[in-house]
């Protein structure tokens, strides 16, 4: 499977039942990437171009960390790659960096920020909270998932975040409830005030977080993961409606003002290529819960 490829996997770790972390040697990407950006991985000659968010990077070692959930054919195949093997292609960094990175320090130091990570969304949130910590800012962070097994990166997050809140739908770990229940608890019961929420997770979760934060009057940034092909602004597959405008997530995003995103359209478009086999695996693994209506956290396997 490895072929004569150069993007070598230097480390592989299983984070949960079906979520994997890999460090991949890609010096050009590692040199210039920032939190908020993503890469495109093509495993071999016949593979798809798979977009994955950058979870961490080591500029000196020239490696980039990705975290992915083995869902359909492609990501399951990727889960079969071992340390020492290599991918054919690994392109990036793509998309814009998080707006926090270029914000004037004075402004940033005044902001009270809450990060909200749903399911695999913990992976893209991690580099952002890490960057904040390393630059001397404190943030709050919620990690939510359906149950304890699906909570990932907790230890790494703890090192970066003073106030880390864990919440599970079934109460098997931490707070009982979805991320929205947790946000409400923080704001209504614990007297927390936030100027900015950064929510990354399944689209359905981001949608409901945005409905809530709109009510609460808190500006909210989300990271969108529509279907992509090239990732360089050539094909238009990743288009979204933001406000009244069409935007391309790969070059204009992937982060957008969540209160302007047309989530219903984006969620429909995301289903376009969902394979039957992906849906079946999901049903087998998760039972019928992923059709839970109206809630924030039940669809992580469907989306991210």
């Amino acid at each position: 499977m490895a072929g004569n490829y150069s993007y070598t996997i230097t480390k592989k770790e299983k984070l949960s039942n079906a979520i994997y972390l890999m460090d991949v040697k890609a010096p050009r990407v590692a040199k210039n990437c920032y939190p908020g950006q993503f890469v495109i991985v093509k495993m071999d000659e016949k593979g798809e171009r798979i977009p994955l968010t950058i979870c961490d990077y080591d500029r000196e070692a020239g490696t980039v960390t990705i975290v992915f959930q083995a869902l359909g054919a492609s990501t399951q195949l990727m889960a079969g790659y071992e340390e020492g093997e290599a991918f054919r292609d690994f392109t990036g960094p793509l998309g814009h960096k998080s707006e926090l990175i270029d914000m004037p320090r004075e402004e940033l130091s005044k902001l009270k920020i809450l990060f909200v990570a749903g399911g695999v969304g913990a992976a893209p949130v991690y580099p952002q909270v890490k960057w904040m910590k390393e630059n001397g800012y404190d943030v709050d962070c919620i990690i939510g998932a359906r149950n304890k097994d699906l909570i990932i990166l907790e230890d790494r997050m703890k090192e970066m975040v003073e106030n880390l809140y864990i919440t599970t739908d079934d109460g098997s770990y931490g707070f009982k409830g979805n991320v929205n229940d947790c946000i409400k608890d923080l704001v209504n019961n614990q007297g927390k005030q936030y100027d900015l929420v950064i929510a990354i997770g399944p689209m359905i979760m981001m949608k409901f977080v945005c409905i809530l934060t709109k009510e609460l009057g808190i500006r909210t940034i989300v990271s969108m993961n529509p279907v992509m092909v090239d990732g360089t602004g050539m094909c238009g597959a990743c288009r979204l409606t933001i406000g009244n405008e069409v935007k391309f997530a790969c070059v204009d995003g992937p982060e957008f003002d969540g209160h302007l995103v047309n989530f219903d359209e984006a969620m429909k478009r995301l289903q376009m290529y969902k394979t039957e086999e992906g849906k079946v695996t999901l049903r087998q693994r998760e039972g019928a819960t992923h059709h839970h209506p109206g809630c924030g956290c039940h669809d992580e396997n469907e989306e991210k």
Binding site: L94, D230, G236, V246, R269
Partner: protein
């Protein structure tokens, strides 16, 4: 033999080819090529050469064909063009070299394109390579984008002795030649890949998966990686949409996406992982080469296909040959028809397109008669897939990350036509990135001019 008529070229039967991705046109064999070559009267002042954007010595290579010295013919062409097998196939010859051919005044012009294709194919089959450079001068040039403009610029500079690296954003070099133009017009493995290998054999390095403006910048290439000059050949950019209701429904694609899935990602081949939604009833909006390619691809994937274009047959911007092929294969043309809305079913998928008939009114600025809506002529075309082929607007990745790089009001990079020089010292540009979507050979011409411009600049430095 009737000297007024060109030797006809053999093609795959329309009915058969409508179901496969093999090449439509078989090209000439040696006998046919030699016969066609004798029709050239070897003009002292050959008009045809003026019609070719890279000024190929056309009578020169045709003479060698009549002498049955095809290798010599190939070396003549190679002096001017790095991609003859490509150009012989996709150049709009009828409006370039062949339009000027003296034979065309009375009868058919010489089939210059088909002869060029024959020579290049013959050379490939006989493993003849272009001549590599004699000496290297140690100067480094970076080329951004491995499309026709970038490959030509790189090839020419390598021949002059420069150390050239091409940086390509995608995982394969070739630009539109690999992701846009379909297999049945331009075979990838046998033709495109081989001509790119010829460029590599001149000493050019190609680094794929590098997105300039993201993975690294032009400033870094010049300041940190030691490149003495840079050529930008990054192509046309983002697809345009109409802005009509329903355009983001499931089942609406840009031609770029549809073609990229089929060509670059080989979705038509079940062995490859990338999915494509072929559609059963497909409407392609637009009338250019890109629209024809998308339509003929959908047809081959099993769909019934409509071309929806708001002007008439004469105004179709696509090459005549492509329109002719599309019709032969069974594409249905809905001309003088404009989409108003894409209809969407309850699951969010396309169910049809509301259209209006048009008629031609007064000429507009482009000199073409402007289409206006016919009153009370709306109708619904039942469709499950819509492919938008409306052209592109420039990609800002490079212009927004390069200080001092001037763009025009259309956001295209501004470059001098003769030398390719941009507003930044040492930075040159050409091809679709400068002109907006044009043709392979014009992009190659620009790459060539810039190679000369870079050479002059570096020698004077």
């Amino acid at each position: 033999m009737d000297v007024l008529k060109k030797v006809p070229v053999r093609e795959q039967e329309p009915k058969v080819r409508a179901t496969n991705f093999e090449e439509v046109c078989y090209g000439y064999n040696l006998e046919e090529a030699m016969e066609e070559a004798t029709r050239c009267i070897q003009c002292k002042n050959p008009k045809c050469v003026q019609g070719c954007p890279v000024s190929i010595d056309i009578p020169g290579f045709i003479k060698a064909v009549t002498d049955n010295d095809i290798e010599a013919a190939f070396q003549v062409i190679s002096k001017y063009s790095a991609l003859p097998a490509v150009c012989g196939r996709v150049c709009p010859q009828e409006t370039q070299c062949e339009e000027r051919c003296i034979r065309g005044i009375k009868g058919d012009p010489v089939s210059i394109g088909k002869l060029e294709r024959f020579v290049a194919d013959w050379a490939r089959e006989h493993n003849i390579k272009p001549e590599p450079p004699k000496e290297r001068n140690g100067k480094k040039v970076a080329v951004i984008g491995a499309g026709p403009a970038g490959l030509t610029c790189a090839g020419d500079l390598a021949k002059m002795g420069y150390d050239v690296t091409i940086f390509e954003a995608l995982h394969e070099p070739g630009g539109v030649l690999v992701y846009g133009i379909p297999e049945f017009r331009l075979p990838k493995e046998t033709v495109v890949k081989k001509e790119i290998e010829n460029v590599i054999s001149l000493g050019v390095k190609i680094e794929t998966n590098v997105v300039i403006g993201k993975s690294t910048t032009i400033d870094e290439l010049m300041d940190e990686e030691g490149f003495d000059a840079v050529f930008i050949g990054s192509g046309a950019g983002l697809p345009k949409f109409m802005g009509i209701p329903g355009e983001n429904a499931n089942g609406v694609f840009s031609a770029n996406e549809y073609l990229t899935r089929s060509n670059l990602m080989k979705a038509f081949d079940k062995d490859y992982d990338t999915p494509i939604i072929a559609g059963k009833k497909v409407g392609v909006v637009g009338g250019g080469n890109v629209a024809m390619d998308a339509a003929r691809t959908a047809l081959r994937l099993g769909a019934e296909v409509y071309i929806v274009y708001r002007r008439g047959e004469e105004e179709l911007p696509a090459r005549v040959e492509e329109v002719h092929h599309a019709k032969e294969e069974g594409i249905i043309f809905k001309l003088l028809t404009n989409p108003k809305e894409i209809l969407v079913n309850e699951n969010g998928w396309v169910s049809g397109m509301r259209c209006v008939e048009m008629e031609l009114g007064e000429p507009d600025q482009s000199g073409r008669r402007r289409p206006v809506e016919k009153p009370d002529s709306e109708f619904v075309l039942e469709l499950d897939t819509v492919i938008m082929s409306l052209g592109t607007s420039p990609n800002p990745l490079i212009s927004s990350t390069t200080n001092g790089l001037e763009t025009n009001k259309y956001k295209c990079i501004v470059a001098d036509e003769e030398t390719g020089l941009t507003s930044r010292e040492g930075v040159f540009a050409g091809g679709d990135a400068v002109t907006g979507a044009a043709t392979v050979i014009l992009a190659m011409g620009a790459g060539k001019a810039a190679a000369a411009g870079i050479d002059k600049y570096l020698k004077s430095k």
